[in-house]
Each structure stands twice: as C-alpha cells, then as structure tokens.
C-alpha cells in the first residue's frame, strides 16, 4: 500500500485490510499526459482481493482517466498496472476484459432488448454441440442471481429494459463474479438510483467482495463511498491526495474526506 502525497496535510493512514498476499490490482506511478496537460500524475494505489476501494474526487480530478487506463480504453504515458501481481499492458478494453477486469458502466453494460439470461451469457454462451444450451444458461443465471441476492426478479425471461437500474447493476456484478474476474470496476454505480436501490447495489457489491474479487468503485457521494468501501482514495488535480481506511462512517470521517476532495485541509 504505497499511499502517496500528503501534500495538503491530509492524514495518511496505512490500511489494515490486508488480505492474503498479492493485491488484485496495483498501480505504480501511473501517469497520463495529454500534450502539456498532466491528467494523472504518478498515482499509486492497490486493491487487495476481497477489498472494496472507493476512488473519490471532484470533477476533473482524474478519476475517469484512471478508470480508462485500468479498463484498457486508453494507455498510461508511464507507470505500471499490475493485475494479480503480473504486469499488464492493455492494448484495448478487450484485452483488459480478457485479463480479468470487469468494467461495469452505467449504460454500456447490458443490451436492453435482450432478456436476463441472454444478457448474462452474451459473448460467453454455453453450448451443447452447435446449439445454445438454453437450459443450463437459464439455470446458472437463476442460481447466480439468487446467490448475489437478486431474488425479486419476476422472471429471467424478462427484458433487461424492464428491470430497474439496481437490478441491472446486480446482473452486471453477478456476471463479473460468475466469470471469475479478478477486478470489478464500477463507474458511478449508484448515480441514477433511488436510496432503496442504492442499498441493494451495496449488498451486491458486498457479495462480490465476499467471493474474493477486488472491487474499485468510482463515486461522487462521499457518504455512500464510506458506506460501501474498506478504504477510500482521494484524487485531486490528477494526484492522490489522501488515503483512508474506513473504520467508522461518522461525521468526522465524512468531513475529513470531503475536505480532502475539495482541497480545504482539516
């Protein structure tokens, strides 16, 4: 856990959530320049297996550029990405996905006109001979959704466009867990959700975490981030400015993190 700059006086806390050995994801001095502009400046952080890390920061802090580099949408100017201890160079989002990084975007994850089980196995269909093994795919989808806690779905034959936003997130998360991805990358998973649904999504994230997957959540809402994560990392102006282990979600913690985000030192 090489937490970096404490330049603005934010307290640095070495995280105590250390699962086994090698982190699910580690970023070493990741930098991204666009011409003269340094969007991301020597960012370091790591996510252990079975750990939820929330990446916080205001608009333009560099969060989405970090996400793009991890998901393979763009490549870093310098620095290293280590997945499960192995150094990775992603040429595109496909190579990142094949390496074990499941990125769940708000509206880029599912095909709205397809039903639940077809979405679940899209691109990784089960077959018996040349035919789709519909029975097996339906059964496995049913089982995974039950495991992750999505039990109120009326039917796995219903179209995804008829599901709520929370249910759609659950389906995407369940899919990442089922296909044994190493890292689950969630970009603003609760941005368009009701309070009730947000809590549900947090439950699903917890199930994913319990399965041993590393989870990186990008968020705007500090309180939500503190609720769901084991650690929070705060970015500002392209740098990591603070790292906190979340032990309690009280007002002090909230103020401290918000101060780091906005750059007003405590």
């Amino acid at each position: 856990m090489t937490a970096s700059a404490t330049s603005l006086g934010a307290t640095e806390i070495t995280p105590n959530v250390q699962h086994n050995d090698i982190p699910a994801l580690e970023l070493r001095d990741i930098t991204k320049r666009f011409g003269a502009i340094v969007a991301v400046d020597k960012v370091n952080f790591s996510i252990a297996k079975g750990e939820v890390l929330a990446l916080l920061g205001d608009n333009g802090a560099g969060k989405s550029t970090v996400v793009k580099m991890i998901s393979g949408a763009t490549s870093p100017t310098s620095g290293q990405i280590l997945l499960d201890g192995k150094r990775m160079v992603f040429r595109n989002s496909k190579s990142a996905r094949l390496a074990g990084i499941a990125t769940v975007y708000q509206d880029l994850a599912l095909v709205p006109t397809m039903n639940v089980w077809r979405n679940f196995f899209l691109g990784a269909e089960l077959k018996r001979g040349w035919r789709l093994d519909v029975k097996k795919m339906r059964a496995e989808t049913q089982q995974v959704l039950r495991e992750i806690g999505l039990r109120n779905l009326s039917s796995i034959d219903q179209n995804v466009m008829k599901m709520s936003g929370g249910e759609q997130q659950a389906l995407s998360i369940g899919r990442a867990v089922h296909f044994q991805q190493k890292l689950l990358l969630l970009d603003e998973p609760t941005a368009a959700l009701s309070v009730k649904e947000t809590n549900k999504v947090f439950e699903y994230i917890m199930r994913a975490k319990e399965s041993g997957i590393g989870v990186l959540v990008i968020m705007h809402n500090t309180l939500q981030a503190l609720t769901v994560s084991d650690r929070v990392t705060v970015m500002r102006h392209g740098r990591v400015v603070a790292n906190y282990a979340v032990e309690e979600t009280g007002t002090d913690m909230l103020n401290m993190v918000n101060a780091a985000i906005s750059g007003i030192g405590p």
Binding site: V111, L122, N152, S154, D157, Q158
Partner: protein, 374 residues
C-alpha cells in the same frame, strides 16, 4: 396473490416486499407479454383482411387453388424478407435487395445453359453475397448508415444492370426440367416447391437466430452495439455476415423467380426492398434493431401475398395493391404500438386480469425462447 404464482419462477422469497416487486414487474409488463400481444394483433388483422377479401372475391380466396396462389406469391418476397428481417434485427437496413435480386437472377438466366444449373446457382448466390459484402464493407468501414450505403449500391447495381442488358429482358426458350425443384408444383396441388424452400429456409434461419451463438450476437449487435462490443461480441463480423446473408437470400429469390417464370427484366426488382421491409415491420421487427422474429417476417410476407391474390380475385385493378399495402402497413404498426394499451383496457373492462395474465404469460415464455429471443 395469483399473479405472483404465475410470474415468479423459482425466485419466490419470504421477503415482505416480494409481492410488491412482483406486482411492479408485472405492471411494467415483461416485453415478452407485449410482443406476443403484438403478434396476436397482426394475426387478428390478417384474419380480418382475409375475410374481407373472401367476401369481395365472392368466396374465391379460400379455395384450395387460390391458397396455393397466395403461398406462391408470398414466397417471392418471403425469401428476401427472411434476410431483411435478420438484418434489421441486427440493426441495419438493405435497400439494395431488389437490385441484388435482379442482378443474380439475370446472371443465372444468362449462364445456366452454358455452365449447368447447379454451378449457375452457386455463381448467382456468390454475386448476391458479393453485393452484401460490399454493403457491409462500406457501412462498417466508413461508418456510414446502411440506409444510405445500400441506397447508393442499389443505384450502382441498377445502373450496371441497365448497362449490361441495355434494358432487354432475358427469356428462356424452354425451361429445363431441373427448374421444377423450385418452380414445379407439389403433386397435384397448386403450391410450388419454392414455398417449401421458403418455409424450410425460414425454419433454418429461425433456428440460427434463436438457438445459436451467432443468433444471440445478432440480437446483441442490434439491441446495443456498444454494450455488446464491450462484453466481447464481434459486432462488425456479425453485421457483415448479415449483409452477406441478406444478399444471398435476395439472390436466391431472383433464381427462383426465373426458374418458374422463365423471364426476368431489369425492372423486376423495383419496390422489392420496401416490400421486404414492410413484411418485416408488419411482422413485428423493430426499425431500430434488437427486436423481431423470423416467423414475423414470414407472416408479413404471407400478408402481402394475401393482398396480392385477394385483390386480383376481387376484380380490383392491381393499381390498388400499393394503396392497400400502405394502409395495412400503417394499421399493423399502429396496432402493435397500441397493443399494450388495448390489452390493458380489455383487461379492465373484462375484469379477468389474472386469467389474461396467466395466458399471456404462458405464451410469452415461448415467445422469448423461440420467438423474440431476447
């Protein structure tokens, strides 16, 4: 609550909000139920049109002889409608099918005497595939909407046809016996073998669409290309294959036309592209992709066949055909769009909500698996 039983499958829980969620899911409707209702509306409309034409034709339409005629007429547009429906589900259009039809049919008509019937079929299909591939390359390579691409290629191919034929029709002096595999009548019926080919190919294509990985990717590519790409579907390859298939279905239709008519001319394909789209849309294929069925396309083609033959039998001039198709097309789509509202109105009026729910759901499960294949 009785709804719960029919809708929840192996997912019932002890949660207090389970039934609430179930009701919500039910209200929001399950597109599956919606689609099957849409198809019911279309089938209901066909029945009404058939009955009207039966009356105006003085009970001539539903005779054995003329039912055969309807099927024969349906199959010509039917071949093309299979390809167009699949392509539209994949999120693309093909306005060049009419010209592909003519180009391939003419190629077949020109070369079968010298190279033999079977090789001529292969060459003609290859021409259809090549035009489809060209459509695919331009559309996918340059990111041009296929509506525009295929409009362009249809003009190009039409121009080439006129250049080569100088507008002269190609006529067979005598039809070889082997042509009867398409143009011959089945036993003593009035149904041509091409109807069997049509329905057979429709079944094959439906299986491909709903039961194979390729088919699954077609629905994905048409429903949300970016999401599908994101999860690893080769969207470009899938669409390319669809363009090629659509070209081949059009080519096949051209071959079949020549096989029973013994004559093909440059204008034979005019309007076919829009008829094929009409057939697909009447059958419930969404204009924006991701939704549709092959059997819908078959039903749509059948509808057009019924109108063609029914109007002739009614003594109406063929000038009424297009007028009639236009009205029917708009009615069919309007009906489909409003089906949900109509069904819920009927439900409230009849007050047998759970009965309808049970039946609609029973049917919709089929539809999803074999039909709409979401």
């Amino acid at each position: 609550m009785s709804l719960g039983k029919t809708v929840v499958e192996e997912t019932s829980t002890g949660d207090s909000d389970a039934s609430e969620d179930t009701v919500r899911a039910f209200k929001s409707g399950g597109i599956t139920r919606y689609i099957s209702a849409r198809m019911m509306a279309v089938i209901g409309m066909i029945i009404i049109v058939v009955l009207v034409l039966e009356i105006t034709s003085r009970e001539q339409l539903l005779t054995g002889l003329n039912i055969g005629g309807v099927l024969n007429a349906s199959s010509e547009i039917g071949f093309i409608a299979i390809g167009v429906t699949a392509l539209m589900i994949g999120g693309e259009f093909d306005l060049s099918v009419g010209q592909t039809f003519v180009a391939s049919g003419m190629t077949f008509a020109t070369i079968y005497t010298s190279v033999g019937v079977f090789p001529a079929i292969i060459v003609s299909l290859a021409i259809g595939a090549a035009i489809g591939m060209l459509n695919g390359f331009i559309t996918l390579g340059f990111g041009i909407p296929s509506f525009i691409t295929t409009l362009g290629t249809s003009y190009v191919v039409a121009g080439l046809i006129l250049m080569v034929t100088t507008g002269q029709p190609i006529t067979a002096v005598t039809l070889p016996k082997s042509f009867s595999i398409f143009g011959g009548y089945i036993g003593s019926t009035s149904i041509r073998w091409e109807v069997v080919w049509w329905l057979g190919l429709a079944v094959v294509m439906a299986i491909v669409l709903h039961k194979t990985t390729f088919g699954n990717h077609i629905f994905g590519a048409g429903g949300h290309a970016d999401a599908s790409r994101n999860i690893g579907v080769r969207v470009g390859m899938t669409k390319m294959a669809l363009f090629v298939l659509c070209g081949m279905f059009s080519a096949f239709s051209g071959i079949v036309l020549f096989a029973h008519l013994g004559d093909i001319e440059a204008s034979a394909g005019s309007g076919l592209q829009l008829e094929a789209i009409a057939a697909a849309v009447i059958g419930g294929t969404a204009l924006f992709g991701g939704i549709g069925t092959i059997y819908g396309g078959v039903i749509g083609s059948f509808f057009l066949g019924v109108i063609t033959v029914g109007l002739v039998l009614s003594g109406a001039s063929t000038v009424y055909y297009e007028l009639f198709v236009g009205i029917v097309l708009i009615l069919a789509v309007a009906l489909q769009a409003k089906t949900e509202g109509i069904t819920s109105f009927v439900k409230r009026a009849v007050g047998q909500r759970s009965w309808i729910a049970e039946h609609a759901h029973g049917r919709s499960t089929d539809t999803t698996q074999a039909g709409s294949a979401q």
